[in-house]
């Protein structure tokens, strides 16, 4: 029986509560594997996974690579720096070339929104979106959800405050979709210049003050502010941004006492988050990294197994 009726993971959009729960349950099992001394299984033995990264990302790429290897797949990494993409070959040409090598799953990171959807139309294998422009980053939202669920026991009716550069954040979009699908209450806290047009229709409560936005929150999810957006373009300065929107111990007091502090990494300490909080007792930032591997194992196993069953059907 196929529990997960999707061939690709292009975004959280289109996933039901059941789909998400299925993946999170699977990921819980994968956590156990990663905590064993013998971490390698044979679930995906003989299958090929290609990580196609058009944007540098050490952490996400490493996480996907480990996930594949722990499932027993053969993993190949391709990043832009060493490929012909810089010589003008398009995403599609690269994809067709790789497709001809008959991989079973392509993991794509690309700077353009919609790149994963485009790729999925053109290749014969499963596609996992590892971040496409400012669109979605579904495995990040899943690992965040897994981290929260393990700490709080549930996702429904908890209050999650997503703080910072929502405008440019694919992490924020995927999290808003996922948390709403699971019945959480989602808030966004940011200066208006860092919020997308139409945010009030995205099923979130909008705040422009950390004190109000964090009040009684169960989870405080900080977003990274890209360096080029700090000085003048979207906010006047790092100093001013940190003063109003940087998470420090003082601002965190507004949230519930046992509120979780999360960050997708890499962090800008002293810009969006103070070290005292990032390294403090409420921080689950390291757990997020651990859950990342588990979630990616769950996703790839689910896609490849359901795909194989689809072929047999």
């Amino acid at each position: 029986m196929v529990f997960f009726p999707h061939r690709h993971l292009l975004g959280i959009k289109g996933l039901t509560e059941q789909d998400i729960t299925y993946l999170l349950d699977k990921a819980d099992e994968a956590v156990k594997i990663s905590r064993q001394r013998e971490k390698k299984t044979s679930t995906l033995r003989g299958l090929t996974q290609i990580n196609l990264f058009f944007e540098a990302s050490t952490r996400t790429q490493a996480s996907f690579e480990l996930a594949g290897k722990r499932l027993g797949a053969d993993v190949m990494n391709m990043s832009v720096g060493n490929s012909s993409v810089k010589k003008g070959e398009t995403l599609i040409d690269t994809a067709m070339t790789l497709n001809a090598m008959r991989p079973d799953v392509l993991v794509l990171r690309h700077s353009s929104a919609g790149a994963a959807a485009l790729l999925a139309q053109k290749v014969a294998c499963s596609v996992v979106n590892a971040g496409d422009g400012q669109h979605e980053h579904p495995t990040q939202a899943l690992l965040d959800a897994l981290t929260i669920r393990r700490a709080k026991g549930k996702l429904s009716r908890i209050i999650v405050a997503i703080c910072g550069d929502v405008l440019h954040s694919r992490v924020a979009r995927s999290n808003i979709l996922l948390l709403n699908a699971m019945g959480a209450r989602v808030r966004v806290v940011a200066p208006s210049t860092l919020l997308p047009s139409g945010i009030r229709d995205m099923s979130v409560e909008v705040f422009h003050s950390m004190e109000e936005g964090l009040k009684d929150a169960d989870v405080v999810m900080m977003l990274r502010l890209q360096r080029e957006r700090m000085a003048g373009a979207f906010v006047p300065s790092v100093r001013e941004y940190f003063h109003f929107f940087g998470l420090d111990a003082e601002k965190l007091k507004a949230a519930k006492e046992d509120a979780l502090v999360m960050h997708p990494g890499p962090m800008n300490r002293g810009v969006e988050i103070a070290s005292e909080v990032a390294d403090g007792p409420q921080s689950v930032i390291e757990q997020q990294v651990e859950m990342g591997v588990a979630v990616r194992m769950a996703v790839m196993e689910t896609l490849l197994v359901s795909q194989n069953q689809g072929e047999r059907a």
Binding site: S112, A113, G114, L118, D132, H135, R173, G198
Partner: protein, 438 residues
């Protein structure tokens, strides 16, 4: 759908009888006869024309159930010749135009090299004379290389046949240059036709709003169109030049045109057929054939554009035919070029507005024939006796489905692939000669 083989026979008289004649230049809508003389001009068109009798040896076509209109005039067409002939040539575009019922079009100067010099304008005219099956009129660049820095030889270009001056796909950012160009153009009574996209605010890839936000695509707010439009209208008022806003897309722009006209500004405007037929939701999952400039707007704006055509605020409808290849379209949405082809589907898409009773048929034909001919001073847009016999024969209800393979354009980037239409051109006459027949 295949191009009619050119009729090499000696000129004869052609008679179209039992045809419903819609001629906006005379506010005429009646059933009658059209007689085309051997010289390719209209001898008579109307209910009284049959009284003149049919000359001996005339070709007679019974057009019962069909509508005859002045040949359609498309005032905004981008081509690939010279420079990108793999996308579209003057000849291939002319055949696509004929299949769409279009008998005259104005070609934009966005070619390689840019049409900013009389030699290039003459090249276009010569190529059109030799190869095109419809009338092709060049619009010249308003600034050299479309760079927006120096004005071109407006007087000489006009004399060599340029019917309008435009900065093509590019906006014009230098307001002082705009003022000087408009002041200078006024002395030649030349039309300045501009697209509207503020350089900084208009730097996105689709309509700003909730849909763009979910897709993670950067938005183009409507203000990026309204601000340059308001500016242009002010400069047009100041210089008393003939100004044409090439493609508006939001309700507030139509309002700005209304207000400026009330102030006495000599302004006209157009809308692309895409903005009358489609909205931002058609982009779906990043479909790049729907990436246009201006971007497709909301459904409210689409309806407002149709209403503005109906009440005459928007003067003309254009195809904004813009052939693009896989190398410019098969890319992530934000990286793809703007533009869609439209010569072969403009009429059919416009007829939807007639079938929906949103725009009267007379006004639709006016907006695609008589009015653009008038705005750009072309010898077209009328079925008056003595006029050149450019005629489009239309079946208002013929059902058809757009199939990519059947398109005559060299590029296939149509946003209407697999669209179901009611109505199309069944024959197209240019100078009395049948250049297309279904």
């Amino acid at each position: 759908m295949s191009p009619a083989t050119p009729n090499p026979a000696l000129p004869t008289t052609t008679v179209l009888k039992n045809v419903r004649i819609i001629d906006p230049s005379r506010r005429l809508d009646e059933t009658g006869t059209i007689i085309i003389g051997e010289d390719g001009r209209i001898l008579a068109a109307g209910s009284d024309a049959q009284n003149q009798g049919v000359p001996d040896g005339a070709t007679v076509r019974d057009c019962r159930g069909l509508v005859a209109t002045p040949g359609l005039v498309d005032a905004r067409v981008y081509l690939g010749e010279p420079g990108a002939e793999h996308r579209e040539t003057i000849e291939s575009a002319s055949r696509a135009a004929a299949a769409g019922g279009i008998t005259s079009f104005i070609m934009m100067p966005d070619t390689d090299p840019v049409l900013d010099d009389i030699a290039l304008v003459e090249f276009v005219q010569k190529t059109a004379r030799d190869k095109a099956v419809v009338n092709v009129h060049p619009a010249a660049a308003l600034t050299k290389g479309l760079a927006g820095i120096e004005m071109t030889e407006i007087g000489l270009l006009q004399r060599s046949g340029a019917v309008a001056f435009t900065n093509g796909r590019h906006g014009l950012n230098d307001t002082l240059l705009l003022r000087r160009a408009m002041t200078y153009a006024r002395e030649f009574d030349a039309v300045i036709s501009l697209e509207l996209r503020e350089k900084y605010l208009g730097n996105g890839v689709m309509n700003e709003g909730l849909f763009a936000s979910w897709l993670g695509l950067s938005g183009v707010p409507k203000e990026a169109e309204i601000i340059p439009l308001e500016r242009d209208l002010r400069i047009a008022g100041l210089t008393r030049a003939k100004y044409h806003a090439a493609k508006i897309s939001v309700a507030e722009s139509a309002e700005a045109i209304r207000v400026a006209r009330a102030r006495g500004v000599n302004a006209t405007c157009g809308v692309s057929i895409n903005h009358l037929s489609l909205n931002e939701n058609d982009i779906g999952e990043y479909r790049t054939f729907f990436k246009l400039s201006p971007p497709l707007r909301s459904e409210d704006d689409r309806v407002a554009m149709a209403d503005a055509v109906a009440d005459g605020t928007i003067d003309i409808i254009v195809s904004s035919h813009d052939p693009q290849d896989v190398d410019t379209k098969r890319l992530p949405f934000g990286d793809a070029e703007d533009g869609a082809i439209g010569l072969e589907t403009m009429l059919a898409a416009a007829l939807r507005l007639h079938h929906d009773s949103r725009v009267p048929l007379m006004r639709l034909i006016d907006a695609m024939s008589t009015r653009p001919a008038h705005v750009f001073g072309l010898d077209a847009g009328t079925l008056k006796p003595g006029a050149k016999a450019d005629i489009t024969l239309i079946d208002l209800d013929e059902p058809w489905i757009v199939a990519k393979d059947m398109l005559l354009s060299r590029s296939k980037n149509t946003p209407f692939e697999d669209a179901r239409f009611s109505g199309r051109a069944v024959a197209t006459y240019v100078g009395g000669r049948c250049v297309y027949s279904l």
